[in-house]
């Protein structure tokens, strides 16, 4: 055994011990602490664990957990009885330690399907030489920590340019200017026209800072969305794949009805990106979609859970773009909204004013979580009827009809534990 391998073995063992201790202490799954301890013992662990694997990575602000689940399910479907060849950070732990933890749990796997935090993409490209990289979108999120989303895009672009011909083939959302600009540094790009309608986080050209001109898509008239820069040649690339009225049109113009088990048009867009990535990994679309349809509640998203006598469906929304997707899905007469401002939620809740809560008028809203009072003021100005019940368990208690719950990250994780999903 080489010294390098011995150190990784020691790190993996130390990590397992710490993870088990954390689980015993009921501090979550232990995945995060396991990875942290591993990287402490062997700072080179992530590179070693990634070495020699076929790797596909998914990143972006919203939808990366679900898209990674789609891609993993698609590849798993193609592996049949050899599904254990695949490792996937299914719990959504996507920083260095989360990736190390997942990889060390399946050392025998030779295919890794990984979701990566936006900040970690550059390191994964350098350390793991992934074959495929899926870049979904960029929007404002946790601005108390990431002051400029453009700097994240720049880090992707730099890493792709640095990787050159040994870099990944990128699957990129053609409707997101910053994603397009970053992806253009890759050796090859498969563009996906996702029909994204969220445009509030990209008004200036990432290349030259001129104003971007936009044509909004309109489903009713069939008008396709478009964007181009008023000052340089950056423009929306033509999609190799595209999302059209809930279907996915692939490279050979074949139309697929995705029939997913998770709701929302945005998940059809996520599925289109996963389908493109799966084809790059050699999975045919029919098999890929068969796998993707088995995805029902990736890391608790869209899961239905029982809280005493209350049946609740859990939706996650972390930022204005995410809320714009989640709010239309909440269909129940009573809707519970859970807001917190722990580090993982972003300590600044000013984004509440960028969310169109006005659309909940006429329904009963329960504001809950540690920042419920901030939401109460927002709902007051939105003229939406609400009750403020800061305690999560109390807010969920005793609903005779099913309720939809939309939560930011921290209360979402708490609800998953409470509802065991």
């Amino acid at each position: 055994m080489s010294i390098s391998t011995a150190r990784l073995t020691a790190a993996t063992f130390a990590g397992r011990v710490a993870g088990a201790a954390s689980r015993l202490a009921r501090q979550g799954t232990g995945a995060s602490i396991r990875g942290k301890v591993m990287l402490k013992v062997d700072p080179g662990a992530l590179g070693k664990l990634l070495a020699g694997k076929r790797i596909a990575v998914v990143s972006g602000t919203n939808g990366k957990t679900t898209t990674t689940h789609f891609l993993a399910a698609a590849v798993r479907a193609s592996l049949g009885s050899h599904a254990d060849r695949l490792v996937h950070n299914a719990d959504g732990a996507n920083l260095h330690h989360g990736l190390a933890s997942a990889l060390s749990g399946h050392p025998e796997a030779d295919i890794a399907i990984l979701e990566s935090d936006e900040r970690v993409v550059g390191d994964v490209i350098r350390l793991g030489r992934p074959e495929v990289l899926v870049l979904l979108n960029f929007s404002r999120d946790q601005l108390d920590r990431h002051h400029e989303i453009k700097s994240l895009g720049r880090s992707w672009r730099t890493a792709l340019a640095g990787a050159g011909p040994s870099g990944p083939v990128v699957v990129a959302n053609a409707d997101e200017p910053l994603v397009v600009w970053a992806a253009l540094a890759a050796k090859q790009v498969i563009w996906v026209d996702t029909s994204t309608t969220w445009t509030q986080d990209s008004s200036l050209c990432p290349e030259c800072d001129s104003t971007l001109i936009r044509i909004q898509p309109d489903a009713a008239s069939g008008l396709v969305g478009d964007w181009y820069c008023s000052g340089c040649s950056l423009a929306r690339p033509k999609g190799d794949y595209r999302v059209e009225s809930g279907t996915i049109v692939d490279r050979s113009q074949q139309v697929w009805d995705p029939q997913l088990s998770v709701p929302g048009v945005f998940n059809v867009s996520n599925a289109a990106c996963a389908l493109a990535a799966a084809e790059l990994l050699g999975v045919d679309p029919r098999t890929a979609l068969r796998g993707m349809r088995t995805v029902t509640s990736p890391a608790g998203r869209f899961a239905t859970a029982q809280f005493g006598t209350t049946t609740a469906r859990l939706l996650l929304a972390k930022n204005p773009a995410g809320w714009a997707e989640a709010l239309p899905l909440a269909q129940t007469q009573t809707v519970i909204l859970a807001i917190d401002s722990a580090a993982a939620d972003g300590r600044d809740v000013s984004w509440l004013w960028d969310v169109d809560y006005e659309r909940l008028a006429g329904r009963k809203v329960i504001a809950t979580g540690r920042r419920a009072q901030d939401l109460a003021v927002r709902l007051r100005y939105a003229e939406v009827d609400y009750r403020c019940i800061p305690d999560l368990a109390a807010a969920l208690a005793d609903h005779s009809e099913p309720v939809d719950v939309i939560a930011t990250y921290t209360p979402f994780q708490r609800l998953r534990r409470m509802g065991r999903v």
């Binding site: 002051h147 453009k150 509030q200 960028d354 009072q373 003021v377 100005y381």
Partner: protein, 249 residues
């Protein structure tokens, strides 16, 4: 028609939301519009984007936060437009928050090369890159106010530090947070123009400041509005921020 008559049209102008709307700044417009409507006025919200002229009919003009490139684009467009200067001459009220505050000053700097950009000169303040980014909850005391209204609560997030010249007065005195440049002052006032760092957005958390802006623009006092949830939010924010600050010391 008497200026106080309910039903009077009052126009709030939200400037360049696509460039200067980073921190829920639209919320300041929502708050003003609703506070007018609840008092029986006929509020109109005008959202202006670069390329379209600012209306000359506005009562209150709002500028919010944005990234460096957006800030430069916005200041160029506003200078070319000229409408904000005319509005201030007319006596319209201006609330400029964060990047917007820097824009209405004399100069500000962007990027790590500290490129100096000319502002609009509506407030006698100058902004340069500070030693550490100011990120966190901020509490300040509104100069010249007393009672519960004197406490201004918000969240600041800015890399630029702002120094006041002789023709601007500080808006408030910092209790917790950085404010203008860690010199104990926060914001600046000159006539009907108010600049400030906290968002949150600032008018949602500080309804007295919202009404003050409206009173500046309308030229008369407004009857108070009592909203228990806003009072409770203010109490909660002030208490929690003070408690966590005391723990850290």
């Amino acid at each position: 028609m008497n200026g106080r008559t309910p039903g009077r049209r009052v126009e709030v102008v939200l400037i360049y939301q696509s460039l200067l709307g980073l921190y829920g700044d639209r919320g300041n417009a929502t708050v003003l519009i609703k506070r007018l409507a609840w008092r029986g006025y006929d509020p109109v919200l005008t959202v202006v984007e670069p390329g379209n002229p600012l209306p000359d009919t506005g009562h209150v003009y709002l500028l919010g936060g944005g990234e460096d490139a957006a800030q430069i684009t916005a200041v160029r467009a506003l200078r070319a437009d000229g409408g904000l200067y005319r509005a201030v001459e007319r006596g319209a009220a201006v609330l400029a928050v964060c990047a917007g505050y820097q824009i209405v000053g004399n100069t500000f700097t962007v990027g790590y090369q500290d490129e100096v950009i000319s502002g609009l000169g509506l407030l006698d303040v100058t902004t340069t890159r500070g030693p550490v980014r100011a990120v966190g909850e901020i509490i300040s005391r509104w100069n010249g106010r007393d009672g519960d209204d004197q406490w201004l609560t918000g969240f600041e997030n800015h890399g630029g530090y702002t120094r006041l010249g002789p023709r601007a007065e500080p808006l408030a005195t910092v209790e917790i947070g950085i404010g203008n440049c860690n010199d104990g002052t926060e914001g600046a006032v000159s006539g009907t123009v108010i600049g400030t760092y906290p968002h949150g957005p600032v008018l949602a958390r500080n309804p007295a400041l919202a009404d003050h802006l409206l009173e500046l623009a309308l030229g008369h006092e407004l009857e108070p509005l009592a909203h228990h949830e806003i009072k409770k939010l203010r109490r909660q924010r002030l208490a929690r921020v003070r408690r966590s600050y005391a723990r850290r010391r």
